[in-house]
């Protein structure tokens, strides 16, 4: 019975069917399916499959955004019922799109995976002044800072943020991402990792989480 509900959660995300996911999430609660399992064995595998479809170019950004809505529909129902221990933060992440850039779709998709995976996310939004990242990192003592830029013309601001954060807190991991970013740029600027492009945002988010897990 529980597997059937998990499958419906997963399929609802893949089919970007918010109603189906909400129904399945409510049923999961009614039937005492562990909410943690509903998220990690239902919603998250759905998003992983969405990521695969995206990579294979069956899905594109509009589909992915709708899948994300379906995922959040389930997450909003299930999360309040997760036990304290299960709901305990796996890490603190500060993220945002750098100043001069108002393109936040990639960042939002990465954020969703962090949300779903139980991280405490401090999302600074888009068009974020450079110093704000440094301030927020210090304030929250976050394990990671994720910087996103969708344009070449704004990417260059990342370099300064990375330097300032590393100067104040060398242990903080910094991930950068966005269409113009390359691994070469990431390593030259001293970032710890990067998300290759929009196509890989979701997959890379999952990888980032995995790599953080191995760090802790």
């Amino acid at each position: 019975m529980s597997q059937e509900i998990l499958d419906r959660l997963k399929q609802g995300v893949i089919d970007y069917d918010e109603d189906a996911v909400s129904d399945a999430a409510n049923e999961a609660l009614a039937q005492n399916v562990n909410p943690h399992s509903a998220v990690f064995d239902g919603l998250v595998p759905g998003m992983v499959e969405v990521g695969r479809l995206y990579e294979e170019q069956e899905y594109f950004v509009p589909e992915m955004l709708m899948c994300a809505d379906a995922m959040y529909a389930g997450l909003n129902i299930l999360k309040p019922h997760m036990s304290k221990k299960e709901g305990a933060s796996r890490g603190v992440v500060v993220m945002g799109v750098v100043q001069g850039d108002v393109h936040d779709i990639g960042k939002n998709i990465v954020r969703m995976m962090f949300d779903a995976s139980g991280f405490e996310v401090h999302d600074l939004g888009r068009d974020v002044p450079l110093d704000k990242f440094v301030e927020e990192q210090l304030k929250t003592d976050s394990d990671m800072v994720c910087l996103s830029a969708m344009m070449t013309t704004t990417m260059v601001g990342m370099k300064e943020i990375i330097e300032k954060i590393k100067e104040k807190n060398p242990k903080c991991k910094i991930m950068i991402g966005g269409a113009p970013v390359t691994s070469d740029i990431a390593s030259r600027w001293g970032a710890d990792g990067y998300a290759r492009d929009a196509n890989n945002a979701l997959k890379d988010a999952i990888n980032m989480i995995a790599s953080l897990k191995s760090i802790s």
């Binding site: 509009p62 108002v102 936040d104 779709i105 450079l130 070449t152 013309t153 260059v156 300064e160 390359t182």
Partner: protein, 351 residues
């Protein structure tokens, strides 16, 4: 020695007349920090000042020999005329391109009902652009081609409303989105005509919001191509269609939109492109505007230019706006390589 002026070379290319070699110019912004120092102003001061804008536009010819002068340097002109508020980042130390801070469309209903002012052609900075075109025309218009650009309707829509909503509604309610884009195409035709009347020699229509890692080829056909076709049918002139990213999956459709030339960046596989659309269409590109022109060495630039020529471009130009810190020696290397090798390596002439 060739007797063609840069302007003649560019215009003859569009007209299908004999030219000695591919031109080396651009359809997008080309201001450099060196130019800004010479003019004695900050990047943010260019956007609203026709005189400074024209000076900065002319600098790509004066400083490194581009066969064009292109203005403006930001992407907010049309959105501003339609009622959006632009953020020039007046109080930010580092150089930033302006963005839209206040959208004009806030609800799903407004997508179909938002008003287009009757005097939209007099609003925002449209007259500033026209004045800068006239100043450039007077200054170097005999020698080089004067270019400007417009946003594609979908990219413009992404500035007028929330981008997430635009993407989702393109999928869920394409009729509503198409209705809006059709109206925006009319606006772009009117603005483009005004730019041509002011003296522009060519206009690049930049539909960079519609890259193939964002929208499916199916969506391109349904919500992008029809409006680009409308613009190119309604705007007589030397129009170029530019889309960034990997464009191979939509290149046939791009080519059918009716522009005089298409502009592609380095992510397009030109061998496949030529195989699909044939040798005739004019293709401009495809030098990497950041990793080659800004962070590369002059020898990387030479390599990038030769690769573009060998791939079969008819004009060598950057795949995007040049980031202002691009070293002058790189930009000079770009122009010199085309001058030296353009004629012998031009695929169109070798065929």
């Amino acid at each position: 020695m060739s007797t063609l002026t840069p302007r003649e070379r560019v215009l003859n290319l569009f007209a299908g007349k004999e030219v000695d070699r591919p031109a080396c110019y651009s359809g997008m912004g080309n201001v450099t920090t060196v130019a800004l120092e010479e003019i004695g102003c900050k990047f943010r001061d260019l956007h609203g000042d026709a005189k400074k804008m024209a000076q900065a536009g002319a600098s790509s010819y004066h400083l490194f020999g581009y066969e064009s002068a292109v203005i403006p340097f930001d992407l907010c002109v049309e959105a501003e005329a339609l009622g959006c508020a632009m953020n020039p980042y007046d109080n930010v130390e580092q150089l930033l391109y302006p963005t839209i801070k206040e959208k004009a469309i806030h609800t799903e209903e407004e997508i179909t009902t938002f008003s287009i002012p009757d005097d939209v052609l007099e609003r925002g900075r449209i007259n500033v652009i026209c004045e800068a075109i006239r100043l450039l025309k007077k200054d170097i218009g005999q020698e080089v081609a004067i270019g400007t650009y417009l946003l594609g309707p979908f990219t413009l829509a992404g500035q007028l409303m929330d981008l997430n909503d635009l993407f989702k509604l393109s999928f869920k309610k394409p009729d509503k989105i198409n209705h809006m884009l059709d109206r925006l195409a009319d606006v772009q035709i009117a603005i483009g005509r005004k730019f041509y009347e002011a003296g522009a020699d060519y206009i690049t229509v930049r539909e960079m919001g519609a890259t193939t890692d964002i929208l499916s080829p199916r969506a391109f056909n349904n919500v992008i191509a029809p409006h680009l076709k409308k613009i190119f049918a309604g705007l007589p002139g030397n129009n170029v269609l530019h889309i960034c990213g990997g464009t191979n999956s939509v290149i046939g459709n791009m080519n059918d939109c009716g522009a005089a030339a298409v502009s592609l960046e380095f992510k397009n596989d030109m061998a496949k492109t030529r195989a699909e659309i044939g040798p005739d269409p004019l293709i401009f590109g495809q030098v990497d505007a950041y990793s080659v022109l800004v962070t590369g060495k002059p020898e990387d630039v030479v390599k990038g230019v030769l690769a573009s020529l060998d791939a079969g471009v008819d004009a060598v130009w950057p795949g995007c706006d040049i980031w202002p810190t691009a070293p002058l020696e790189n930009l000079k290397a770009m122009v010199e390589t085309v001058r030296e090798h353009g004629a012998s390596r031009w695929v169109r002439k070798r065929a």
